[in-house]
């Protein structure tokens, strides 16, 4: 064991820090700003199994879900605002319903609970005349900022240290061994035996300066927050066409909203998907589209006001899978980024993966962690690809 530096104090970095600390590593978390200053405070906290078709991401999510419940027991659900809220997917037409039924059949085979329901039974205020609803009791929710903070504090109790306020600007590897020297923007340096790239959407840039580039790009999303209205919406509700959008690689604007109530009484409506780089400018048309879709699902929302909108940048990989694992080109470097719109959900399993990989010999990652195959996430899958 030695020292591991985790770059990034978002939800993924926090989980990596905790699981590494539990495995006995001396952990230093470096963030250029602070805890959850990046995407983890600019998205939502849906932990969805429902939107993932059978495959590696769903396997990872099912494992992560068990980790989340365990973290809830260990650290207290309150500190994470962990809620077993359940999801409800609805389809307006019989044709869409059939497509979703086939999708759900595949999910059930790998252990997802998915039950056909009359949407009105679960959501009394939902629009009339929907063809079908599928209830996913395993969908959870957390508050990502609180969760990042609480998880990082748990790591701190095991000796982890947070250095915030200064970015990693350069990295050197000693020729002889896999020891690293990371230089920070404030002129100081940190030594490390292992480095974890948990820089979210900036994972591409950070990987490049570490010498092991992986293709991570930002995909913008807007979220709407309404005035507090009380319990109008009880589950995470979205329409069946959502999954097509999530899986799409189209750069153009896609919106298909997920509507959910929060503890504060506000309703969250998210989210759009758009590849526009780090363009932060306000796009009123996105707000209009999301609002129209939300009202179509819940007509009562027509008279509800939007108080706020914000946008974040999902860390996006071309094949829509995160990059988790040791970099074959750089001994001692482990990537943990590119989780796109599911990084909160996948964070604890990612932490467990990383902890298992830190101690593995260079380039020889365990084939499975918690029974989940590691190969689909391996950085090596991009070949020698450099970020576009």
């Amino acid at each position: 064991m030695g020292r591991v530096v985790v770059i990034g104090a978002g939800i993924v970095g926090a989980c990596c820090a905790l699981y590494a600390a539990r495995a006995g590593w001396e952990v230093v978390v470096v963030d250029r700003e602070g805890v959850a200053a990046g995407t983890s405070s600019h998205g939502e906290g849906n932990l969805l199994v429902s939107d993932k078709g059978a495959g590696p991401e769903l396997d990872l999510m099912l494992s992560s879900r068990r980790h989340w419940l365990a973290l809830g027991d260990e650290l207290g659900r309150e500190g994470l605002e962990l809620d077993e809220k359940g999801g409800l997917v609805v389809a307006a037409s019989e044709a869409a319903a059939d497509v979703w039924r086939a999708f759900a059949t595949g999910q059930r085979e790998v252990g997802v609970l998915a039950e056909e329901v009359d949407p009105v039974d679960l959501e009394p205020r939902i629009v009339d005349g929907l063809a079908v609803g599928v209830h996913y009791p395993q969908d959870l929710q957390v508050q990502p900022v609180l969760a990042s903070q609480t998880i990082l504090e748990a790591a701190t109790r095991l000796g982890a240290v947070l250095r915030s306020g200064s970015p990693v600007v350069a990295a050197q590897r000693t020729a002889s061994s896999s020891t690293w020297r990371l230089r920070l923007g404030d002129g100081t340096a940190v030594e490390a035996d292992r480095v974890v790239n948990a820089a979210g959407p900036w994972g591409g840039e950070v990987s490049a300066l570490l010498g092991g580039p992986v293709p991570v790009l930002p995909r913008r999303g807007f979220v709407l927050v309404t005035e507090p209205v009380g319990p109008i919406v009880r589950h995470k509700v979205y329409s069946a066409d959502y999954v097509d959008n999530v899986g799409s690689s189209d750069a153009g604007l896609q919106t298909s909203c997920v509507v959910e109530g929060t503890r504060g009484g506000t309703i969250l409506i998210g989210a759009s998907r758009e590849r526009v780089g780090y363009d932060r400018s306000m796009d009123p048309d996105v707000v209009r589209r999301l609002a129209a879709q939300a009202v179509a699902l819940f007509p009562v929302l027509a008279d509800v006001r939007i108080l706020r909108t914000y946008r974040g940048f999902r860390p996006y990989c071309p094949d829509h899978l995160p990059v988790i694992g040791p970099d074959p080109r750089c001994p001692g470097l482990v990537h943990a980024c590119g989780h796109e719109g599911a990084g909160v959900g996948l964070a604890p399993a990612t932490g467990a993966f990383v902890a298992a990989m830190l101690s593995a010999d260079h380039g020889r990652a365990p084939v499975e962690v918690d029974g989940v195959a590691t190969a689909p996430f391996a950085p090596g899958r991009f070949g020698e690809a450099v970020p576009a």
């Binding site: 507090p228 209205v229 009380g230």
Partner: protein, 88 residues
């Protein structure tokens, strides 16, 4: 001042002068609060007076969360004390 015009606030009639907001008319009648907060049930009324603070929220004609400092009073309007986030 002769007040010919009134609106209904809970179970009483409140006189107002056209052009006045609901909050101004209630204040002129020495009524200071028309909402209780969601968490602690504390009474609230006007604070900023110009539409910034949202402390003055009230239910008007069945629609909760209206700013009393801005909504102009009108004849026959039904204004009701709002508890928490109100009902829809």
């Amino acid at each position: 001042m002769t007040a010919l015009t009134t609106f209904r606030f809970d179970d009483r009639d409140v006189p107002y002068r056209p052009g006045q907001s609901v909050g101004a008319a209630l204040t002129a009648c020495d009524i200071r609060s028309w909402r209780t907060t969601p968490r602690e049930g504390r009474p609230r009324g006007l604070f900023c007076g110009i539409g910034i603070c949202y402390d003055c929220l009230v239910t008007v004609d069945g629609m909760p969360n209206q700013r009393a400092c801005l909504v102009l009073a009108a004849d026959g309007m039904r204004v009701t004390t709002q508890e928490g986030v109100g009902e829809r």
